[in-house]
Symmetry: C2
Amino acid sequence: MKIEIMPVGEVVVKGGNYFLKIKPEYVVAMQKLEGFSHLQIFWWCHHNDNPAARKKVSCQTPYEAAPEDIGVFATRSPMRPNPIALTAVKVLDINHEKGLIKVYYIDAENGTPIIDIKPYHPCCDRIKNVSVPQWCSTWPQWYEDSATFDWDSVFRF
Amino acid sequence: MKIEIMPVGEVVVKGGNYFLKIKPEYVVAMQKLEGFSHLQIFWWCHHNDNPAARKKVSCQTPYEAAPEDIGVFATRSPMRPNPIALTAVKVLDINHEKGLIKVYYIDAENGTPIIDIKPYHPCCDRIKNVSVPQWCSTWPQWYEDSATFDWDSVFRF
């Protein structure tokens, strides 16, 4: 069974600003996005859409405390069987005329294909009682705290 | 640009229990999943993988207070250009030998293709200061509260 998907837009990084540029045929799908402070962005790790990266089932992480060899389903690595990435983004502005959603930040480079957008709903996305393995238990407990966390302190190099 | 993805497993619902059954070639990718209380499950809405459903850019929702016509990117509707669904699940048990992850619940039926699994990380998935539009502002503010919420009270019918 093979599944076909297609980009609905792309990431635009310009002058230190981050935008989601939606293709004209999907701009109507942006209607009523207003009011959602955050969106779930599904994007395609196009640099890793190759047979070698898609055969990866385990990897080494850049984190000092992490296990030597870790299954890719236990990581957010872009090298995985289906290189889909998920990033929650904070919405700054929505321009329906131009098909542009300005966001605070997204960890994807200019030209990255976007494959889906969904609203971030606390009732299905925000978990109160959550735990993670020991090796990443010192990481921030909230999305907002990631920006100021000293990630260098947990990196292997 | 067309993108090809393939299932890495499927949902198994059996005797009131919910499992993610991983294909043998991807079982190694489950290594070191232990310790993550919750996972992000990406699944394929196979019943909506048809040209009519994938042309949908707006829809009507079943919620009484929702706008009449709403863009699909502002909904979690399975009828959308790329019918990918995302569900955070609570892990109950992991069986590497059988390639099975037992979860508390998933809103996908028996035989649904799974296309990716990622760990739920509070630092990127759990947002403290989040807001939603007025029409869904009475919905639960936490994942855990969804199970006991009276969803009938917000449905149109």
